[in-house]
């Protein structure tokens, strides 16, 4: 039926499906992804940010944590100022220690992205295992795992993270542990619901009757079907993890000053904000914002591309 009651046309969807069958799924996803100019912009921006983080030591005008390179006399200079020692300009100004903000932001991005990505990967593995276990084993195990997930997800992430920090103490490992704890439940829930849909299908039942090994059923049949929603959730969660780490660090409960992430840079500039020296907080915030926005743009488009049914 080409025209549904609301007048929308379903024929192009059918054409798209036919085309998708002909191409490889990943090529189709990539093709659909870059059709949206805003998403393409987001992906390009994200690439730039990640490259800047990876190559921070190469592209930064100075090493902001090498005391030999910074001069307290250059402290709190506004953006565009010349360094007192004569070499170079501080395009984004300096902080109270005379540190070049641009360099500090590149280094901060490195730490923020490292913490965000590594916690996401760990949470992904744990959540995936828990979700698959729940979906495959079923019964009491499933009830127990999902009950824990439900209870945890009914509390805001910041609260859970703060309590964990309160119990565990501070430090980069502990912050990552807290972020992993906050995140795993999302993956477990996503994986289980995707796997459940698949488990109900008859071929899984058939595979069981044939006494195929559980591992084979899980990895060949259940896992591939969980991947698309999982990729979307993971992308969103990287942004959430980066934001949460920044928040914890801003509150002084996250990373130690030896690991100056963007959140810590912003917190550092807070006290100078009231005297009008905005740049110390402003620019790291912009970097944080661009990172989160670009990830969210990519995630939004991924959601549309990977799951046409789940239209917003």
């Amino acid at each position: 039926m080409p025209v549904s009651a609301d007048g929308s046309v379903t024929a192009p969807a059918a054409a798209a499906a036919a085309r998708a069958a002909a191409e490889s799924p990943w090529r189709r996803v990539a093709g659909d992804f870059f059709r949206n100019p805003i998403a393409t912009f987001g992906a390009a921006l994200l690439c730039l940010i990640v490259l800047a983080a990876i190559f921070a030591p190469l592209i930064s005008p100075q090493d902001p944590y090498d005391l030999a390179q910074i001069d307290v006399l250059d402290g709190k200079l506004p953006p565009g100022s010349h360094a007192g020692s004569g070499n170079g300009r501080f395009w984004l100004g300096t902080d109270d220690q005379g540190r070049d903000m641009l360099s500090a932001i590149f280094y901060g991005l490195r730490i923020s992205i490292f913490v965000g990505v590594s916690s996401t990967v760990m949470a992904l593995v744990i959540g995936l295992a828990a979700g698959l276990l729940a979906a495959y084993v079923g019964g009491r195990t499933e009830t127990f795992v999902m009950r824990v997930v439900d209870i945890q997800l009914s509390f805001p992430s910041i609260l859970i993270a703060l309590i964990l920090i309160a119990v565990l103490g501070q430090g980069i490992g502990k912050v990552i542990a807290a972020l992993v704890t906050v995140q795993w439940a999302y993956y477990a829930r996503t994986v289980r619901s995707a796997a459940l849909v698949e488990r109900r299908k008859e071929y899984v039942e058939a595979a069981r009757c044939l006494a195929l090994s559980p591992m084979r059923i899980v990895f060949r049949h259940l896992l591939p079907n969980c991947l698309p929603p999982l990729i979307v959730v993971a992308t969103v969660q990287v942004a959430a993890a980066i934001a949460l780490e920044a928040t914890l660090s801003f509150l002084g409960l996250g990373l130690p000053i030896t690991e100056p992430s963007l959140g810590l840079l912003i917190a550092n500039g807070y006290q100078y904000l009231l005297s009008g020296k905005y740049w110390i907080s402003f620019f790291p915030g912009i970097a944080l914002l661009l990172t989160i926005v670009s990830i969210n743009l990519v995630a939004d488009q991924l959601r549309d591309v990977l799951n046409p049914r789940l239209s917003r």
Partner: protein, 341 residues
């Protein structure tokens, strides 16, 4: 507005069309402007409807029959719009009517009943509310008077203990009961025309029969004209005075029920009749129309049915005009170069 002489559609012979029809549709075209192209959902549809007449509008999904109904109601939403043609109700042109005047007509002179009774009633509003608001939107009466009228309408469609039912929510009704309520709502303001868009399709067969019988009775009692949209010829056979068969936005055959059912001229009508189970001898395989309804964006040139039609030849690459059917009966017309004798 006075009823000026309405141009009778080319296909409708004067014998069946009353001198001053209640509703006259002429050259109606409703198109949807989508990114994929223009969808001609309704493409040059003309017909007339007399007061108290029951008209069957038959066709497969996507043939444009529902869109014809929505066009009459002025309920076509963007990207769709009525691009051409005229709709006259008692001589009043509806296609150029301002939105507020059209709203005032909807539910008052023209009412509509939808296919799925589970979906047409608002799940979170009580029945009394949903009924009285339809009266209060058109009549300057008090709430009590509106309520009394709603109660009366429920009684008329055969709902027991109407007082309790008025205070109930839709989920407390069965499907058949909900459709009765929807019919009662359509009847509230005693409209001139009720457009029923497959109102029995979603119901059990036994309930279907009851509803059909009652709608027919009510229409006769109140003198309301009915346009009954369906894909099922067997439903309409016992109900309609005249039948219009639609395919790909066009009326391909029209005539009295007897003409169309007993002497179908268009191969498509024949196909529809052959696929009705009850009309076929037991044990014989049902005939299906091969192929699918064509996409309205990429319609074949000429007769839209030719790719599914056994009788089609090179001639059918031109669009057949509406001509008299071989039955020779007045008002029995069709669009086909190779009609069945």
């Amino acid at each position: 507005m006075s009823a000026d002489p309405v141009a009778v559609s080319q296909g409708t012979a004067p014998a069946t069309a009353p001198a001053a029809p209640l509703l006259a549709v002429l050259g109606l075209r409703t198109h949807f402007f989508t990114k994929a192209g223009v969808v001609k959902a309704v493409d040059d549809v003309s017909f007339t409807l007399a007061a108290g007449e029951v008209l069957g509008l038959v066709g497969e999904s996507g043939s444009g029959k529902s869109m014809t109904g929505y066009s009459l109601m002025g309920l076509i939403d963007p990207p769709g719009r009525v691009v051409e043609g005229s709709i006259r109700l008692k001589g009043q042109e509806l296609t150029t009517l301002p939105a507020e005047k059209m709203r005032a007509l909807r539910g008052d002179r023209l009412a509509m009943i939808f296919q799925d009774p589970m979906m047409t009633l608002n799940p979170v509003l009580r029945i009394d509310h949903q009924m009285t608001e339809a009266i209060l939107a058109h009549r300057d009466v008090g709430r009590a008077a509106a309520l009394a009228r709603a109660r009366e309408a429920l009684v008329r469609v055969g709902i027991a203990s109407p007082d309790a039912r008025l205070k109930a929510y839709p989920h407390q009704f069965s499907g058949g009961m909900r459709q009765r309520v929807a019919i009662a709502i359509a009847l509230l303001n005693e409209p001139d025309v009720i457009i029923a868009d497959e109102p029995t399709t979603a119901l059990d067969v036994t309930i279907q029969g009851q509803i059909l019988y009652e709608v027919q009775k009510l229409a006769r009692e109140t003198g309301t004209a009915l346009i009954w949209i369906t894909h099922d010829l067997s439903v309409i056979a016992g109900l309609a005075d005249r039948i219009f068969v639609m395919y790909a936005g066009k009326i391909v055959e029209e005539g009295t029920t007897e003409d169309v059912i007993d002497h179908p001229a268009h191969p498509y009508t024949r196909g529809l009749l052959d696929s009705v189970p009850s009309r076929n001898p037991y044990g014989q395989r049902l005939k299906q129309i091969p192929g699918m309804t064509p996409s309205l964006i990429a319609l074949p040139r000429g007769c839209a049915f030719r790719e599914r039609c056994a009788r089609a030849d090179a001639m059918c690459e031109a669009m057949p005009e509406t001509t008299a059917a071989p039955s020779g009966r007045a008002g029995h017309v069709m669009r086909c170069f190779h009609p069945l004798a």
